[in-house]
Amino acid sequence: MNRREKEQYLREYAVLKSKGKPFFPYVVAKDGGMVIVVIGTILTLSYLLGGTIASKADPTTTTWVPRPEWYYYFVFELLRVVKPSSITPLATVGIPTIALLLLLLLPFYDRSPERHPLRRPVATTAGVLTILAMAYLTWMGAEGGAPSSIDMKTPPSIVKEGGAQLALYEYGKEVIPSSGCLACHKIGENGNPGPGPNLTRIADRLPEAGIAQTLRNPTAPMPSFKNLPPQQFKAVVNYLSTLTKEHEEEK
């Protein structure tokens, strides 16, 4: 903005202001209305949800699955998707520092006198994209299931079979996360996307015998699971061989 543009803005603003309304009571009334909504929201939330606490802090745990407060989900997801380790500092230090500096110094590099969002296509696009990216990361962070359990529902067709088949299915569903499969594979919302392939529809690609074969003689870096107790091995193979497209869509 050069001097002429600055003066023009100040002149225009003075005209607009002189034709405006006094802060009290017009704006105060509007603000007051909004404040009532805001405080009302806080009161409603605390009435409905209250202040809950989890179990006492225990640094010796090896089973707790840490998850942040929802407004840090975007950071959480960023930390999860940025791998391998050579670019980890990008997520922990790089991106946050750059984002903060860009935000802080915004008025010093965006110096055009234009204020209308539709006539500032670059700024508006960047702003909208940032919001969408943060919303997407927040959503993914909220959905990201822990690798310590499988949250997929048992489909009705298997529940109907009942008996030994259902028991084996449920057992497999427990054995898989406790054997560490989800550290490298994703099943439904749980587990990590890589290094191993997504297993949500594995049975569409591999028959039961093929799954058993892969578990015994996998390609590196996957370890062999041939030392699993036979009952557990059977349950794992059985569970994985039910994971088809229909299984995922059956609710």
């Binding site: 309304k21 006094p22 603000d31 909504v37 949800l49 202040g51 809950t52 989890a54 407060e69």
Partner: protein, 262 residues
């Protein structure tokens, strides 16, 4: 609608005119109040400040988007009040913190409600400060002459996020402990300064007896002080430069409309 009232105290109390109706008790009370305000104003000149803050003009076309800043500030005030009350019952030592939180939740009258207000107030405040920043960005309100106020605003966003982070540890439950451990390690991953920053935040190389009280002190003394100071500066600059008009309202356009009407 209300008319612009005259500032009390700015005009000296009028002496009762002889032909007027007999004074009621209400008149006497009003006169006493005006006199008291006049006394105060004579010694502080506060009426000028009141005029500066409350009776300034705001450009035409301001809409509901302009209430987001006030909303954030009131959410902060709610946090201050509930925070003070929680501090009356909370014990920032690692062996007692969790028990004192359980005491607040289970035994103190309305304890869980106030705890909830503080927790959800933080959520609401985070939402509104981001909405307010978004409004400022899309309306181009950070441009000349309000650049400095944008910088102060971004610092406030940062402080609010750090506030939310330091408050997180205080209940000393599993969620709190691990989220804070991760957070401290994020700070500690900065090159060169990181390791020392991590030691400073934890008060040593590992989480220890004074880590919690350190976070407590930062959460309830350092950050609120900084935030209050910056809110003051933010408001001063808002009032000094005036509220922006929405970018689609321009002086020329207004002029044209007016001439068409005639």
């Amino acid at each position: 609608m209300l008319k612009l009232p005259s500032v009390p105290g700015a005009t000296p109390p009028r002496p009762g005119t002889p032909a007027a109706e007999p004074k009621t008790k209400l008149d006497n009370a009003a006169e006493a109040a005006t006199a008291a305000l006049g006394w105060l104003d004579e010694r502080t000149a506060l009426s000028g400040t009141a005029r500066f803050v409350m009776f300034r003009k705001v450009p035409k076309g301001t809409n509901w988007f302009y209430t987001l800043g006030t909303s954030t500030m009131f959410a902060f005030m709610s946090q201050v009040i509930t925070g003070v009350i929680l501090a009356m019952f909370y014990d920032p030592s690692p062996n007692r913190a969790y028990e004192s939180m359980r005491y607040i939740n289970n035994d103190v009258w309305a304890g869980q409600f106030v705890h909830g207000m503080h927790r959800w107030g933080a959520t609401v405040m985070v939402i509104f400060i981001f909405l307010h920043m978004g409004r400022t960005f899309f309306f181009g309100a950070y441009k000349y002459p309000r650049e400095l106020n944008w910088v102060i605003g971004v610092l406030l966003v940062l402080l609010v996020m750090i506030m939310a982070f330091t408050g997180y540890l205080l209940p000393w439950d599993q969620r709190a402990y691990w989220a804070t451990a991760v957070g401290v390690n994020i700070f500690a991953s900065a090159p060169i300064a990181g390791p020392y920053l991590g030691d400073f935040l934890r008060a040593g190389p590992d989480f220890g007896a004074t880590t919690l009280s350190r976070f407590y002190s930062i959460h309830m003394l350092v950050l609120p002080g900084l935030i209050m100071g910056l809110i003051g500066a933010h408001l001063y600059l808002v009032i000094k430069h005036g509220t922006t008009a929405p970018p689609w309202v321009t002086a020329e356009l207004d002029e044209e409309l007016r001439s068409e009407e005639v």
